[in-house]
């Protein structure tokens, strides 16, 4: 599989391609040191109109791991992250080149239903964005979309998800109150509860703690450790300690001068075990960044 598939959001691209079929979703960690590859990103470039925001990224995201994306502002962390659940479909000018295989299926294949993709690959945003609905309805929204109707089942999922997001004890007596009445940190945990309620396979988090105080941040970090046995997590963070604390692997992005325009294009500099990135990085730029000696 070395040929490069070029697929844009609207093109009639290649048909579904399954690379070596893998044994379902069952974690196969027991047999391998490296977890099973969830996202296989090959030669990914993302354009906004003529501007190439990210070029030639190659990386494997592994199951039941937390992968951190770090790098200076504007290097394309969000851009890459949003390719994973096809959120970039909603940006008219955005165009994706290269392939992202998800469990061997090309995510940008025209036959792939992007709604289904987003149902299975959840996302938590930088700014908490609960719906203007009750706490209960916020969490029940996804399961309802997926067709769950029975009150008892929904109650169960809501409770489990809120417990999972370490929010249950704080809100169990006011599930009928608006989600917007919660504090920022609580809202973010509500958004996490909402994301895990649909039982996704992957959770993408874009700077989920940037609006939170250290205590709320610590709770969310603990939470990530707890839920990583069930999900695969990719987190974008500007907080180096956070990346070092929570992640198993780290991808360092930076920007470099673009020969075609005056804007800087993001590149993936280095991707390795977090331990290695922070103690013995292979690239000078990574070292400068993680030690705080960057531009």
């Amino acid at each position: 599989m070395t040929e490069q598939g070029v697929t844009s959001v609207t093109d009639q691209g290649p048909t579904i391609r399954i690379d070596e079929p893998r044994a379902g979703d069952a974690p196969s960690e027991t047999t391998a040191v490296d977890g099973h590859v969830v996202f296989d990103v090959r030669d990914l470039s993302v354009y906004y109109g003529p501007f190439r925001a990210v070029r030639d990224a190659n990386l494997h995201i592994r199951q039941h791991e937390i992968t951190a994306f770090i790098g200076p502002s504007g290097c394309g962390k969000t851009t890459v992250l949003r390719c994973f659940n096809r959120m970039n479909d909603f940006i008219e000018t955005a165009r994706v080149e290269g392939t992202i295989n998800y469990h061997g299926v090309d995510l940008y294949d025209p036959q792939v239903n992007s709604t289904e993709v987003r149902r299975r690959i959840g996302m938590v945003f930088q700014k908490p964005n609960p719906f203007p609905k009750s706490i209960y309805d916020n969490v029940a929204y996804g399961p309802r979309l997926a067709g769950m109707k029975k009150k008892a089942e929904l109650d169960d999922v809501v409770e489990k998800s809120l417990r999972g997001a370490a929010l249950w004890d704080e809100v169990k007596d006011r599930l009928k109150n608006s989600g917007l009445g919660l504090s920022g940190g609580q809202q973010q945990r509500l958004c996490i509860a909402r994301a895990i309620a649909v039982d996704p396979e992957v959770i993408l988090m874009d700077e989920p703690c940037s609006a939170l105080d250290p205590i709320a941040t610590a709770r969310i970090e603990d939470l990530m450790q707890e839920i990583k046995s069930k999900f695969t997590i990719v987190i974008v963070t500007h907080n180096m300690q956070q990346a070092a604390r929570v992640s198993d692997r780290t991808a360092f992005f930076t920007t470099e001068v673009n020969p075609e325009s005056d804007r800087r294009t993001g590149v993936l500099v280095e991707y390795d075990l977090t331990k290695k990135i922070f103690s013995n990085p292979g690239d000078e730029r990574t070292e400068q960044y993680v030690t705080g000696r960057f531009g």
Partner: protein, 341 residues
């Protein structure tokens, strides 16, 4: 590296600037002028509204003093016999407006949603100007178009509705013979329905603009939140856009209603006036307060004129209430915090 270096250096003009800078300055003066001008225009608007209301009241006292409360309960309009009231004209006015809003509401809502949520950017700006253009077409043009071009088509629709839904009192027509396809079409002409259809075309852009405005203010984060949970476009619209825009939907619809209540010339050109109240909207003949005024003021006696002023005053008050309610809804639209659980 030069880019990074430059940001470290302080900006040129601030280097070596020892004396303290005063806070007062030109900024304050122009701001004061601006405040004053805008305040005055605000007051002027209020004064004009007040003057109109006062003038109408003054001119109506003669007629209203004569008939008193029966002004609201009389259907005929014969001021020179001392017998006149707005019961019929007002009923027809409201009927026309309701028909117009009932037709315009789904169209404007769908158009606004399409423009904001679905249309690609190029189509979007094109559609926006098209709808704005619709609002700019003079109502006399709509009147001409309605009376001479649309009427024929609408009558076909009237006949169809009457044939299939005639059992609903609202859609029954006295003297119609739905069984006979060749029956006379005149029973359907110049009706409340025809006028309502034409007024709907005028109301639609207003409603559409308000709804579009509110829908486009939906925080992008909430939109993405819904999509990220696997919502379809319609699913996202239902959970995010519509609840967010509820105030704008209600307000815009009512603004349209206010516009429909006051529409004069197009209605005047289409309807043939009648004073016996009928809720059969498809039936020939209708009326409206403003059309009545337009029709009668030229040959009215002094007293007749005062009677027409009374009719005008009542319309003024009604549209005032409708529009204020509308803007109240638009103004308190969102924040979402107040949305019910």
């Amino acid at each position: 590296m030069t880019a990074e270096l430059r940001t470290v250096l302080p900006p040129q003009e601030r280097v070596g600037e020892p004396e303290p800078r005063p806070f007062a300055g030109r900024q304050g003066r122009s701001d004061k002028v601006f405040t004053r001008v805008t305040f005055l225009s605000g007051v002027a608007v209020l004064a004009i509204m007040g003057a109109v209301g006062f003038f109408l009241t003054l001119e109506s006292t003669d007629a209203l003093g004569r008939v008193g409360f029966s002004f609201l309960t009389t259907s005929v309009w014969e001021p020179d016999r001392g017998e006149f009231g707005i019961k019929a004209v007002l009923t027809f006015t409201v009927l026309i407006a309701l028909v117009a809003v009932a037709i315009a509401f789904p169209i404007s809502m769908a158009t606004a949603l399409f423009i904001v949520e679905i249309a690609p950017r190029r189509v979007k700006s094109w559609l926006v100007s098209l709808v704005d253009l619709m609002a700019a077409v003079p109502s006399v043009v709509y009147g001409l178009w309605g009376a001479f071009l649309m009427q024929g088509q609408v009558i076909g629709l009237s006949r169809w509705i009457n044939t299939w839904f005639g059992w609903i009192p609202l859609f029954s027509v006295d003297g119609a013979d739905p069984g006979n396809p060749l029956s006379n079409a005149t029973v359907y002409t110049a009706s409340t329905f025809v006028a309502g259809v034409v007024v709907a075309m005028m109301v639609m852009p207003i409603q559409c603009v308000v709804m579009r405005e509110v829908f486009s203010q939906v925080p992008p984060g909430e939109r993405e939140g819904a999509f990220a949970l696997g919502a379809t476009r319609w699913g996202m619209i239902r959970v995010v856009t519509l609840p967010f825009g509820r105030g704008g939907i209600i307000g815009g619809t009512m603004l349209g209603l206010g516009r429909a209540l006051g529409e004069t010339i197009a209605v005047y050109m289409i309807i043939s006036s009648r004073f016996d109240i009928s809720f059969h909207v498809l039936e020939s003949g209708s009326n409206s307060v403003s059309a009545l005024i337009a029709l009668r003021y030229a040959e009215a006696s002094d007293f007749g004129l005062s009677a027409l002023f009374s009719a005008g005053l009542s319309l003024f008050l009604i549209t005032l209430v409708v529009n204020f309610t509308a803007s109240w809804f638009v103004a308190r639209s969102r924040s979402g915090a107040d949305s019910e659980a």
